[in-house]
Symmetry: C2
Subunit: 212 residues, 2 copies
Amino acid sequence: MTAVLNRSSSKRERILEVAEEAVLAKGFAATSIEEIITAVGITKSGFFYHFPDKSDLAKALLQRYIDHEETLLGDLFQRADELHEDPLHGFLVGLKMLAEVMSDLPKAHPGCIIASVCYQEQLFNRDVVELNASALLAWRKRFRERFELIAKRYPPKIPVDFDALADMMSGLVDGGIILSRVLKDKDLLPRQVMLYRDFVRAVFLGTGEDRA
Amino acid sequence: MTAVLNRSSSKRERILEVAEEAVLAKGFAATSIEEIITAVGITKSGFFYHFPDKSDLAKALLQRYIDHEETLLGDLFQRADELHEDPLHGFLVGLKMLAEVMSDLPKAHPGCIIASVCYQEQLFNRDVVELNASALLAWRKRFRERFELIAKRYPPKIPVDFDALADMMSGLVDGGIILSRVLKDKDLLPRQVMLYRDFVRAVFLGTGEDRA
DNA sequence: CCTTAACTGCACTTATGGTACAGTGATGAC
DNA sequence: GTCATCACTGTACCATAAGTGCAGTTAAGG
């Protein structure tokens, strides 16, 4: 129609936006391609031009979410570290900021995408599970390295495996998303993050010492 | 055919068994009714005689799982309490036993059912979410009461909200199931339970005292 | 001018969930 | 003994949604 600037695959982006909203609202299986294309104003052929099949849409959605989370959390902990030179207190501040971010999110936490996509048929799991796994392993590594750094200054008062402690964060968030959805309690997730923070503090500072 | 004893809805049970296995292996959406009925040796009409629609199957699956978990965990913590008169140590023993149960489970933990069913379309969520919510609230209540009992003898060294600490258990398990699935690491879940145990111990015993 | 990316349009196939409804064999109540 | 009811079978049919195939179109850029 009108010569709208055709900036690189604007429709593809629109599809992802519309799809993400619908998936968060209703789940992946309940979101039909038909519905997406009418919302975007595109034809079925147009959809299948961008995505070979629906699984591919799921993959793209997941990738999009992982990238977004990556930058969000990366920035957050970096900002936290700029406030504190100490690795432990920087981390604790980061966790507090994370809890705030979690409670600020208007609707459901986008993290739903992970579980939503991941728990839908495993038909397309080869790719999707690997995507998920590499993202999780990246966070495990990041957190473990941080814990090792902290441990140099604060010898652990509770002997814990740092990989497990790192995984606990991911697990708690994923599980917390489910709980907050089911119980319709949006404060549950930030509260869990703060509990995790309490645990981390106990691990490195113990329970007798001063608390910030 | 042969006059097989028609004990109350034996086919219904078979459907649930077959469906559970398939759902755990492939997810709910990827499990077709056709596939279930051929495995059970029943007709489509037979299926829809028992379940008005597929959502009803999901509901029944979830109810079945919740009941099973209820008795399993109920028995477990009762046995643990019989070994220790002390409420804290009985609970800690229960958590250790729980971790063992989690690692013993051959394939994926059945808890997948919850998330699997819960994250599929929310079309049927009125019922399913409420079922889930009431089960979660029951566990919250149970754990909170236990923590209050423990707190009488062991004043908390870390001030935590007992509801949140109770929810942490549920969240950690649900999240741990996702992680262990994605990372294909069946030891991850029991390790998370043991970490939770460390936290509970730190809350009530602190980090300086003797550890069992 | 020609190619390519990003689509449209249309026709068609398959899978799956779901409906409708008549019939049947065994069991238990009366 | 018969009658109703439960737990199904059998057949036929409908709607939706995913996915295929392919020819045609439009705009941007070299």
